[in-house]
């Protein structure tokens, strides 16, 4: 079991304890639609690490840390990937956003392809990661601290 799986298991256990929503895996159809929407509206291809995450949970919201879902959920609210990016920047933005917390955004730089944590609101790069999974692992660890 990977580090990410362990962390998600811990998070989901705590969410169950407090009756918080655990989003089930995104369906294959939902992921396929997302891939297409991401290309059409945001001009980006989804990284396979993110797709794998969506296959575990269709988004995450724990302790103020959010990873966007394949679809936007209404109640309780969870940002969808496309919707969040439209709100935060859109196809012209330098970054493609995958998640956020109160004072940071988690994204990929379109030009350099690097994975970054950005200060909110200045968008200064405050950390870089070699992959989506490395960024996700960091987010999950911070969420359970």
């Amino acid at each position: 079991m990977s580090d990410i799986d362990d962390l998600l298991a811990d998070i989901n256990a705590e969410k169950r304890e407090f009756a918080q929503t655990i989003w089930p895996p995104a369906s294959a159809d939902a992921i396929a639609r997302l891939r297409q929407l991401a290309r059409d509206t945001l001009r980006t291809d989804l990284p396979e690490d993110y797709v794998t995450f969506l296959g575990r949970n269709d988004g995450l919201d724990f302790n103020g840390y959010v990873i966007y879902g394949a679809t936007e959920h209404a109640e309780p609210f969870l940002s969808g990937f496309v919707e969040a990016n439209e709100r935060l920047g859109g196809p012209q933005d330098r970054y493609v956003y995958y998640g956020d917390t109160g004072d940071q955004l988690y994204a990929q730089d379109r030009a350099s392809r690097s994975w970054v944590a950005l200060d909110r609101p200045s968008l200064d790069v405050v950390a870089t990661f070699p992959s989506f999974d490395a960024m996700l692992a960091k987010v999950l660890r911070k969420a359970v601290e």
């Binding site: 407090f18 918080q20 724990f62 709100r87 956020d100 109160g102 200060d119 609101p121 200045s122 405050v126």
Partner: protein, 437 residues
């Protein structure tokens, strides 16, 4: 020699240098080259003292009181010697002597402020309850620079200073400054009562000692150059600070500072601007998904946004991530449960918060960002619903602050709540809504 021993000698060196300045008061007043040499010597010693004291505070807790007392006695000695020299000049030197006397007072103010910084660090590490957070001055250089500029402007009309009953009132934001500066400020303010010239030097030196160098430093120096003869030395004061207290002497104590930093001092960061806000009351209307949204009971407030250095911002973020967020959320659950229920949170949400966890659908928002002058004070934090309120605010703020460099200041309109709120929206349907035109 131990680090603490080095600190002891470094401070002693400053005192000795200052005493020489006083003893040679006449030569100091008449020989600019000598004065330059003496000044540079004192500056170098001051740098060493501040650096060593800062390090020693972190590494030799047991010796703090001893050195603090020594600094006190040294300061008294220095001031007495210099004051003696100045009195002589005033009595025998005519107009020139009076000017020289004031000039020495200014120099002395710079020197004594270093002792003040040392004392402040000592007191900080000792956790003196009355001490607010002088680290704020280091972490918030832009705001401090503004205050220094104000001090320099006022120095041009020094005569007016004496008419003010409250020595802190001639700084831009006296109430806030007094709180934020804590013991360091008090040291400067006390000296003003007897000697405005010395006070001016002390203020500049005190702020400068904790100043993190950046582009604003140049701005200050530029202003100083325009100012009077006093301002020339003020620019030196800022130049000194390049290596003095700086982050190395100060930020290492962030953890300790956090323990001390009472909400009173931090509160000032917010309440100062809140006062101005009342006069503005421009509603918050931000476009999202092509639709204008209004955030009720919030207004656009003009702020002076000065971008922090990365190091200062990340130190505050680390503090926030490691302890502040959890403590804030726990406090809400334990002491503001009624407000949380009114906002629509369930018992399970509140129970989760009592463990220090942020409930689903919310995040903790800094009203004034850590990237600017915002702090981790409770008064600067709001538990805010992610969508659409937090996203609206973030999107607006991104556009306003993108591309700034450390030390840069912009006048911005900033979304702020009309009144202090700890959770937003206050009711489930009380948040942002599409604006009807």
């Amino acid at each position: 020699m131990s680090l603490w021993g080095d600190a002891f000698n470094a401070v002693k060196g400053v005192v000795t240098g200052g005493a020489h300045l006083a003893e040679d008061g006449y030569k100091l007043a008449t020989d600019s080259h000598y004065r330059e040499q003496a000044w540079n010597s004192a500056v170098n010693d001051a740098k060493a003292a501040a650096s060593f004291v800062g390090n020693a505070v972190r590494s030799a807790d047991a010796a703090k009181e001893q050195v603090g007392a020594w600094i006190d006695s040294g300061e008294q000695y220095l001031e007495k010697k210099v004051d003696d020299g100045r009195a002589w000049l005033r009595q025998h030197g005519g107009v020139v002597g009076k000017v020289a006397s004031d000039q020495i007072g200014f120099d002395e103010g710079i020197a004594t402020s270093v002792y003040g910084a040392g004392k402040g660090l000592v007191q900080l590490a000792d956790g003196v309850g009355s001490l607010t957070n002088p680290l704020e001055w280091a972490a918030n250089p832009g705001a401090n620079v503004t205050r220094v500029k104000s001090a320099l402007d006022t120095a041009e009309t020094l005569g007016k200073i004496g008419a003010l009953a409250d020595p802190t009132s001639w700084i831009t934001n006296p109430h806030d400054n007094a709180k934020l500066a804590g013991a360091l400020w008090n040291s400067a303010a006390t000296s003003f009562k007897n000697d405005p010239a010395k006070f001016t030097g002390n203020v500049v030196g005190t702020v400068g000692t904790l100043f993190i160098p950046g582009a604003d430093g140049a701005a200050v120096a530029g202003d100083a150059a325009k100012a009077t003869e006093l301002a020339t030395d003020a620019s030196k004061a800022v130049a000194i600070t390049g290596e003095v207290g700086k982050a190395s002497a100060v930020t290492g104590d962030v953890g300790k500072a956090a323990a001390i930093a009472g909400d009173a001092g931090k509160e000032a960061a917010i309440t100062g601007d809140a006062g101005k806000a009342a006069a503005t009351e421009k509603p918050v209307q931000i476009a999202l998904r092509g639709v204008d949204h209004t955030i009720p009971d919030w207004h656009m407030q003009e702020i002076s946004y000065t971008k922090r250095t990365d190091a200062a911002r990340e130190a505050l973020r680390a503090e926030f991530d490691s302890s502040v967020r959890k403590a804030f959320v726990k406090d809400l659950a334990e002491n503001h449960a009624a407000a949380l229920r009114q906002a629509g949170m369930s018992h399970a949400d509140i129970a989760m918060m009592a463990r220090g966890r942020v409930p689903q659908g919310y995040q903790v928002h800094h009203l004034l960002p850590l990237d600017d002058g915002g702090t981790n004070a409770t008064s600067n934090l709001v538990l805010i619903k992610n969508d659409p309120d937090h996203m609206l605010i973030t999107r607006y703020q991104n556009g306003e602050t993108r591309g700034m460099w450390a030390g840069e200041t912009r006048k911005l309109e900033w979304p702020m709540p009309d009144q202090r709120v700890s959770v937003w929206p206050k009711t489930p349907d009380g948040g942002a809504y599409p604006t009807v035109h």
